[in-house]
Symmetry: C2
Subunit: 366 residues, 2 copies
């Protein structure tokens, strides 16, 4: 990389936001990334993008797009993190990758958020290394939106932490509550712990320990109780807290079941004599349900608890999915999610007052 290839990066964008994009992460990159950014910018003129990746691959796509060229800068690098690259290897040899440079631009004060469709483990490792966690937060979690009848709930952790102790789940409770307040607009979000039954004696010690921490914290948490797998999409609670193993399995089970249901329905209609007519009439409704349960439409897993906003797009997603991930990063930045988390941690007394000035300095980007 020569000096000439580096545009002068700046997060100055009036009152608008700057979002860094890893243009090389994901199966359909860089095309899906650039098309997504172009579509997003048409409706959100207050955003500018920093695009990290291979200029030779980016330029031909970029010049065909209408809005993005005027609203973006490209930072060239020909290195990228492989889809199957282990986090340890990414940390060792990925410091010039498009993924890392996108993350680093947050730390350097050039961007407010970063989005990547690259591999999750590497993205989390590089993000943790570069941004570190928010004061008082031991482990970041991956959060995602679960569709409900009237809106969305947030669930975390979706896979960053295979093993969790009660302290971890308690921190997830705080982060999820801050998210539901600031991004989902819930005034006093309710929290449920995912378990195998709703009775108090159900489950394991970590869950019981988490309940104790919530109850003894003195924080104004709207704790609902244990919830079960069949409660996930009912909107029973606004925040679903679980360990990364269970959360990952549950999320993917929702996706798989929605797919199964939709296939079965189509198969059944095809066999019916009036099936074609029925399909025609049912199509809009089916489309609506599919849209609501389409993983692309709520694509964008949030890394919560980092000292910076990082969003992971599904590796297999197209430009529609990637656009949804950009939207998530935009909402997180706009609503200053990290300010809310830190405020909660301060009232919990987890953050020493000495740190507070540093924090406020580092998380207020504009």
């Amino acid at each position: 990389m020569t000096e000439a290839q580096q545009p002068e990066l700046t997060k100055k964008n009036g009152n608008g936001l700057v979002i860094a994009l890893d243009a090389m992460g994901g199966d359909n990159a860089p095309e899906s990334v650039l098309k997504a950014a172009d579509a997003f910018i048409k409706k959100n003129s207050d955003v500018r993008f920093l695009i990290f990746g291979d200029k030779q691959k980016i330029a031909p796509i970029l010049e065909k797009l209408k809005s993005l060229p005027r609203k973006s800068e490209v930072w060239h690098t020909d290195e990228a993190i492989a889809d199957d690259e282990k986090p340890s290897s990414a940390l060792r040899r990925g410091r010039n990758s498009s993924m890392f440079l996108a993350i680093k631009s947050i730390k350097d004060g050039q961007a407010h958020a970063a989005v990547s469709g690259g591999n999750t483990g590497a993205l989390m490792a590089l993000s943790k290394y570069s941004l570190q966690t928010l004061p008082g937060i031991d482990r970041p979690a991956i959060g995602g939106l679960m569709p409900t009848r009237d809106g969305y709930s947030v669930m975390l952790d979706l896979g960053a932490n295979i093993h969790c102790d009660a302290e971890n789940l308690f921190e997830f409770t705080i982060m999820g509550t801050a998210f539901a307040k600031s991004v989902l607009g819930k005034e006093h979000p309710s929290v449920g712990l995912l378990n195998v039954g709703s009775e108090k004696n159900k489950g394991h010690d970590v869950l019981r320990g988490t309940v104790a921490l919530i109850e003894e914290s003195g924080l104004n948490i709207n704790y609902h109780g244990y919830i079960e797998g069949n409660d996930l999409l009912t909107g029973m609670v606004d925040v679903i807290v679980t360990d990364g193993f269970t959360g990952n399995v549950a999320l993917k089970t929702v996706e798989g079941t929605a797919k199964f249901f939709s296939h079965k329905l189509k198969d059944g209609m095809k066999k019916s004599p009036l099936g074609l007519l029925g399909m025609g009439i049912a199509a809009p409704a089916l489309l609506k349900v599919k849209k609501k349960t389409d993983p692309r439409m709520y694509n964008g897993a949030m890394f919560l608890g980092l000292n910076g906003i990082v969003v992971k797009s599904h590796g297999g997603s197209d430009h529609i999915g990637f656009k949804s991930a950009i939207e998530v990063s935009y909402k997180l930045a706009k609503n200053k999610i990290n300010d809310h988390i830190v405020t909660e941690m301060i009232s919990y007394g987890q953050v020493p007052m000495d740190d507070v000035i540093d924090i406020e300095d580092s998380i207020s980007l504009d």
Copy 2:
């Protein structure tokens, strides 16, 4: 209970099977239990039932039924296990309950299987106490059927064991394989371990330990590898092995998502101008999918690994659901599931030869 109230129990039923029913377990008992048995017997004339419960409540329902009276005996007890009764309390004071007597009739050689809609924890505790585990099996598991596009897979554990080590999951692998062979009729059933990714380094030590045990066992297990939540309903594997916490959450997530999907679809159709017509045409297809994903239709969680066949019906199920649970117990008994499990354990070398004669004696009921 006086001597006069006890009919002479016998499992003699020609070549047929005897199934013991806890008539008092579940929200709709005893009506749902008796109606289910009556419906079942109409199509399966080789079955006789032993009905355990309150004669005063049972008699008025029984006399209205056509087939059941000639094919059943009622054993009176006015004690029952409460829905919220803890396993420890059930063990202490439940020895004269309808649930325990149904289980005990297997041990006493009077029945080939037992079905109850009562509380799961108590049913497992009483079953373990009375029947004990099969030789070589450390912990029984709850198995259930997962619908797939062309049939069913079996998943275990669905909630009996919150914590599992590699030995437990390995035993579940053997039990699940025996079930898929003998009941689902799969010649060489494939096995998948539920995880957060398919790559070998994913997940936790217990899963890696299970893979090692499978590979080193010398048994002819058709091990497929790790599978994820979105693979559960694809039929990718015949046997899905997981710990009881994850399995319980995944099962209930499938149920909840199917419900969500079906509600959303109906809501959407109602709003469409041709919705009513579309509903009419789509109805048969929707019904078929609902049937396939209806928990009632594959109701009947099997307690695998016990020295006797016990099936748990969902507490909230009606007679259709309970009939499905009876059907499961019938298939397990008919296909001598426990003989298959023990055969596998013998070839694995887990069962000392001294025990084998005892085992074969105890598991061959007829």
